[in-house]
Assembly symmetry: C2
């Protein structure tokens, strides 16, 4: 593989001249530039990125760590969409992504630390969304430029998040507008900020409608269809009545659909259901599921954009700045008993 020296020799100039041509320096004669370019082509020269990184102390690489928990919390396509968004933006800036998926937060913290201290990356993006996040602490301590996808409940950080509170409020309001009055809420684990936010939006909508927030209608459980189904069964057996379900994840919504089926309740007439995440397959449930659409691709793209801008100009990395992306309620049959119109797909 050709090095800068080979090119220099072939073009009859010094290595630094070649380097200047690559950098597009303007104090090189057009003739020399041409000669150098020809030589570069001839030996098929491409600069060694590692050598460049060493001398520049910049790798043009961004690390992305993730522990399994976050992956499961959001339903699955979320993760790949975020990656696509990150990758597309990185591409435009001519940067690369170093990816690491860990089993738990401890491993993630270790890996994150390693990437930084070994100087493999210029900055980090993380997607953990726990209330107490040790990875964030590490990042701050190491003074690494980083962006969080989600929200930090602890130290103030630069973050990109979808507006869970507002989305949840709107979803609840939609159910109220459809005439449902006793709305149950299935929450994910409370140690995830996303759960807190969605719960808050739910309560907000009730308060705005001057309806009481009844804790008996709120249940917290792990993300799974079975858990959602079981939660509703328990509420039912406890004599709690409800005419709608706000499911903070589509998996819960699936459970709710099964519950309705199980109890012989018609959806949406006797039970309204709204989910979260708008998992593509959910368009095909019976009836089609109303769900909150998350802009996952945009989340990844925006996070990467913020980080790369921050890398160019550190002052842009203001901790405490939280970018909120809007989420859209995709209304379908599962929540429409007023005969309103369904949005297309």
């Amino acid at each position: 593989m050709a090095t800068i020296k080979d090119v220099a020799k072939l073009a009859g100039v010094s290595p630094s001249t070649v380097s200047r041509v690559i950098a597009g320096s303007d104090r090189i004669s057009e003739r020399t530039k041409e000669r150098v370019r020809r030589a570069m082509n001839e030996v098929n020269y491409v600069p060694n990125a590692i050598a460049r990184s060493l001398v520049r102390s910049r790798t043009r690489t961004v690390g992305f760590t993730l522990s399994r928990r976050a992956d499961q919390a959001f339903s699955n396509p979320f993760f790949s969409e975020v990656l696509r968004g990150m990758s597309a933006t990185a591409q435009r800036w001519d940067h690369d992504i170093l990816l690491s998926i860990s089993l738990d937060e401890q491993d993630e913290k270790k890996k994150c630390l390693q990437l930084i201290r070994e100087r493999r990356v210029d900055g980090m993006i993380i997607s953990t969304s726990r209330v107490q996040d040790e990875v964030i602490d590490v990042l701050i301590r190491e003074k690494t430029p980083f962006v969080v996808i989600g929200r930090s409940a602890g130290a103030p950080v630069l973050s990109v998040n979808n507006d869970n509170v507002e989305a949840s409020r709107r979803a609840t309001k939609h159910l109220l507008e459809q005439g449902y009055r006793k709305i149950a809420f299935i929450s994910g684990p409370r140690d995830l900020v996303v759960s807190l936010d969605r719960g808050q939006g739910y309560e907000k909508a009730l308060v705005e409608a001057e309806l009481p927030v009844e804790s008996k209608r709120i249940v917290e459980t792990d993300f799974s269809e079975e858990a959602g189904f079981a939660a509703l069964c328990r509420m039912w057996e406890a004599g709690v009545d409800f005419d709608a379900v706000l499911a903070s994840d589509d998996l819960f919504a699936l459970g709710a659909l099964r519950f309705a089926d199980h109890m012989g309740l018609r959806v949406p007439e006797e039970l309204g259901i709204v989910g979260f995440n708008d998992t593509p397959m959910m368009t095909h449930t019976h009836p089609p599921l109303t769900s909150v659409r998350i802009l996952s691709y945009e989340l990844g793209a925006e996070a990467m954009e913020l980080l790369l801008q921050g890398l160019e100009n550190r002052e842009k990395l203001r901790p405490g700045k939280e970018i909120l992306l809007p989420a859209e309620l995709k209304v379908r049959q599962s929540s429409l008993r007023q005969g309103g119109k369904t949005e297309k797909q």
Copy 2:
């Protein structure tokens, strides 16, 4: 950030001694080792990975490129599971993953070439599965160590694949055993080897059962629920009869379920349905869908393992060696009309 020189100075030795301690050389006195280690701890020293890569001409990094097409072809969780498997294995070998998701094959080829020529990676894993794959040609031309997830229909390569032919044969055989005789097959685009393989397995099972392969019962279309539904409608309107559907993707199976619903056909009594990929959500269809389970995690893990072994010992990188991973048929209600037993989830 501390360098090897700082450590050397503090320990009162030369940089090369520190380097030897890091490498675990045995010709260093225990006393010196101890002094050096103490110094390393004191200044919190971590070797700079970039500098190491430069001098060693090895980055301990593996590139993984993917263009959107492959992502869509397999249904979504596939992709994240493969990544998890790759990441877990890479972790064990203390390697990293450089990820790039492109929009099309051209971009992927470019990116792949860039990673290699800039010497950012020691090897590549790719997951394209088109019949004519230009990325593979590039990889061969550059003499880069690489492993393919999927199968190459062109040049012989080292690859890991799930046994699509056998899986499809078994799925078809299962339908036959359940008494279905007129099995329709919905194929994905024919320019993907996975489509060819699944089609082949289907035909094989029919031939083994001494049944004719009727081309009128085979239809090729793009991966989507709608396309699957439409394909069956068209067959029906053309007067082709069928009592079961082998769907080469779960999306098609969803379409088939809707078709049954639409036509008032009972599943599995009047129409048996088997899907491919065992998308988690499919456990919750009505009735639950029989589907071929793909070992995505293992696919990623195995590909990484093969590549890293090959990096240590180039002779292990035998092109033409195709590792086949078994796929498992998850039998559920949608294909059970003989009252056989359903496997647990």
